[in-house]
């Protein structure tokens, strides 16, 4: 409320009314409670809002509910100090044209006169209304935006929480399943490794996560190269390994490489512990081989057992089998398994030697014992002292040597050529032949007593055609050996290749098979041995006969073939035998049979 000290006299009424009429304000003077007299003319809006002012004395309470309430009773302003002014505040009033007017009343008293001014709030009020409207709308919009942000934040927090829970669950699941896995990013850095993975690798997380896999994983060089090659391939992955993991707890792991479906550059690597499997496989391989012998067919398993049994006793052994079946390998296995393993193993081929030469070789000679004996010569029996002497092709030794040999076996003493006094030898004799010695005894070409003496123990090696199951094992073993030696990386035998190998009669037995694989490795241009890489006698595309056929062809042809092989091998008989796919013993025997006397 504001106080004013001015007063108007009755002489000013005319001016007063004129001024009021020119303003857009309705001015009333209170005469009686509830009755107000209009001063001056009413503004134009008055009749629109309240109807025509028919008389100057009005009951304003009837005009407006607001005014009725506002003016009810004696207004405090009129009861207070003269000159006090109060504004009612704006109110909305419906007009007679269906619109709304915003009005404001001012109450004041001047002297004894109690006045009421009613004005219509105009442009400035509308502008203020617009400002407030916009401000409030903006506040509401901001409130909505804040809520939306908060809702988004809550949703994201929820998703994050759910994601964390999912991650925890996944980790728990990995842990429960004992799934060993790691994740590599586009640059080969390890971004995640499961607990089981750490346990398997024997590593701590801080030494693995964030590091290059090549630095973090204790792999061997060739394994790293292979894994790098696999990771570089655009394929979806696959299994590789097993690889040997070095460290405090060495193990063998197989890796399953998968592309991360969300990020093509990332890789998921599942680790499988193959240590036990590797050990079992190694044990199985050991069972599939015995020393240098290879095969896991029942026949070969029986041979291994027999060799072990024979090695425990110190008897003479006769090893029988077709050429190329590995008779010398059996002899070496017996020696290596026996108590003589740390003593010499001497192998002598008895084929193709004259009796004097063979006697000299076996028993030695004194200087001057015969023409050309310019020095004392130690015999093979002496050389094998304490160890094992392997006499290959024993069926081919001349009868005089058979007698001397029988004496050695019975008396365990030898007499050098040119010496009268025998000397004791402590040698185990293992003999081998491709002959049927019993038939030789019947024919009279082999001494029966010598046969019985050497055949105390007997090992009969099966031909390869009777143990075809071993062919894949042997073929892959030879492939591996030959590739290692030649530096080639052929890993596979084509199924058709394998089928041909399985169906071939292999008259040259394992030696022929090895020779065929060697041939195919040389011929092979890819990673897989194809049928076309095999020797023509196996594919059936050649007119060249197999060794078995070779045996039966005419002597003249055979002689030409032997001489050609000798020529190709520059006179080296071992190499010539290898080229023909026969043993050195067989080659010698054939030389004698065909009366070939090489100059070398």
């Amino acid at each position: 409320m504001k106080s004013r000290q001015h007063d108007f006299g009755p002489s000013d009424d005319s001016l007063f009314n004129d001024v009021l009429s020119s303003l857009d304000i309705a001015v009333f003077e209170r005469e009686n409670p509830g009755e107000f007299r209009l001063r001056g003319l009413p503004p134009d809006w008055w009749s629109v809002c309240f109807g025509p002012a028919d008389c100057t004395l009005l009951d304003l309470g009837r005009c407006s509910p607001f005014l009725q309430d506002y003016l009810a009773g004696a207004h405090p302003v009129w009861e207070s100090t003269p000159g006090t002014i109060e504004k009612s505040g704006a109110w909305a009033e419906s007009d007679r044209q269906g619109g709304t007017m915003t009005l404001e009343a001012t109450v004041l008293s001047i002297g004894s006169r109690r006045l009421l001014l009613i004005e219509r709030l105009g442009l400035r009020f509308e502008q203020m209304r617009d400002i407030v409207q916009r401000a409030r709308e903006r506040t509401l919009a901001e409130d909505i935006a804040v809520k939306s942000h908060r809702k988004t934040e809550t949703r994201l927090m929820g998703q994050l929480e759910a994601s964390k829970r999912t991650k925890d669950d996944a980790l728990l699941l990995l842990q429960h399943l004992k799934l060993a896995a790691l994740v590599l990013d586009e640059h080969g850095h390890i971004t995640f490794v499961s607990d089981s993975g750490l346990e398997m690798l024997g590593l701590a997380a801080e030494n693995v996560v964030g590091r290059q896999w090549e630095q973090a994983l204790p792999l061997q060089k060739q394994d790293r190269l292979m894994i790098r090659e696999m990771l570089g391939l655009s394929s979806h992955g696959g299994k590789i390994g097993p690889f040997h993991i070095e460290g405090p707890s060495p193990c063998w792991i197989e890796m399953e490489l998968h592309r991360d479906p969300r990020h093509p550059g990332r890789r998921i690597v599942v680790l499988n512990d193959r240590t036990e499997l590797h050990a079992l496989r190694r044990a199985l391989n050991e069972q599939a081989s015995f020393h240098d012998l290879m095969g896991k067919s029942p026949a070969m398993l029986r041979i291994y057992q027999l060799v072990q049994d024979i090695a425990q006793v110190d008897t003479t052994v006769l090893i029988e089998g077709e050429t190329g079946t590995g008779k010398e390998l059996i002899a070496r296995a017996i020696h290596s398994t026996s108590g003589r393993r740390n003593k010499p193993f001497i192998a002598a081929n008895c084929a193709g030697l004259t009796d004097s030469l063979l006697t000299s070789q076996l028993f030695g000679h004194k200087r001057g014992a015969f023409t050309g004996a310019v020095n004392d010569q130690q015999g093979l029996f002496e050389a094998a002292e304490g160890g094992t002497l392997f006499l290959d092709e024993i069926g081919d030794i001349p009868s005089q040597v058979q007698t001397a040999l029988l004496r050695v076996l019975q008396e365990k003493e030898i007499t050098k050529l040119g010496e009268a006094k025998p000397r004791k030898v402590e040698v185990r004799v293992l003999a081998a032949t491709h002959h049927n010695l019993s038939e030789d005894v019947v024919r009279g070409s082999f001494r029966a007593d010598l046969l019985y003496r050497i055949r105390i123990a007997r090992v009969q090696l099966p031909p390869l055609r009777e143990r075809r199951k071993d062919i894949p094992l042997l073929a892959y073993s030879f492939l591996d050996q030959i590739c290692t030696a030649t530096g080639k990386t052929i890993k596979l035998l084509n199924p058709d290749t394998l089928r041909l190998l399985m169906s071939h009669p292999w008259p040259g037995n394992v030696r022929e098979l090895k020779s065929a694989i060697e041939f195919s490795v040389i011929s092979c241009k890819g990673k897989e041995v194809l049928p076309t890489d095999l020797p023509p006698e196996i594919t059936g595309s050649s007119v060249v006969s197999s060794p078995s056929v070779w045996i039966s062809i005419t002597d003249q042809d055979a002689k030409s073939r032997l001489l050609a092989a000798l020529s190709d091998a520059k006179g080296n008989r071992t190499e010539a035998a290898r080229r023909l796919g026969v043993s050195r013993a067989t080659f010698y025997r054939r030389l004698v049979e065909l009366n070939i006397h090489p100059t070398r």
């Binding site: 909305a92 409207q133 409030r136 809520k147």
Partner: protein, 173 residues
């Protein structure tokens, strides 16, 4: 006929005008039009077999732009505190306005209503806060001017309280 002045109090945009319009003319508009000053509406009701004319003073929303004038409240027989369930701040405004009204017009009857029950899932005013209001002695109703829910009940409840002076709703805080 007996007349009773009722003031609609609350923060801006809580739905005071919408509640009055729904009650008086059964109309509703989604368009927000801020109230400046006051609009007085009349509605006749029958309470306890007596006809009463309710003079509904729809006051502007209280905020930093406009504070409710004591002169508007003078002579009120009761008042309604309106809150927007989706804006927690309107509960704080209602609490402040109740203090102002009690100071200006004394311990007259009042009721409170939490408007916008049609979007209950978006409410920020919690059950706990509502319970605290009731513990203060506030009659708390829920309604939706948009759907017309709880509107009639709101005014009738207050009219009944005004016609039956005892017991009156008071803030016991």
């Amino acid at each position: 006929m007996m007349q009773k002045k009722i003031c609609m109090l609350g923060g801006f945009a809580v739905g005071k005008t919408s509640l009055v319009r729904r009650f008086v003319s059964n109309m509703f508009s989604d368009h927000y039009q801020t109230t400046i000053g006051v609009t007085v509406e009349k509605k006749n009701v029958t309470v306890d077999n007596r006809d009463v004319m309710l003079m509904l003073w729809d006051l502007y929303g209280d905020d930093e732009f406009q504070r409710v004038r004591d002169s508007y409240l003078r002579g009120s027989s009761g008042y309604i505190l309106v809150m927007d369930g989706t804006r927690k701040v309107t509960l704080d405004t209602a609490l402040a306005l109740q203090q102002t009204a009690a100071r200006t017009v004394g311990a007259v009857p009042f009721v409170s209503i939490i408007n916008k029950a049609d979007v209950r899932s978006e409410w920020e005013i919690t059950e706990c806060a509502i319970e605290q209001l009731r513990e203060r002695g506030w009659p708390v109703l829920f309604g939706s001017a948009k759907l017309g829910q709880g509107v009639e009940e709101l005014f009738v409840t207050l009219a009944t309280r005004m016609g039956n002076p005892s017991p009156r709703s008071t803030d016991r805080s």
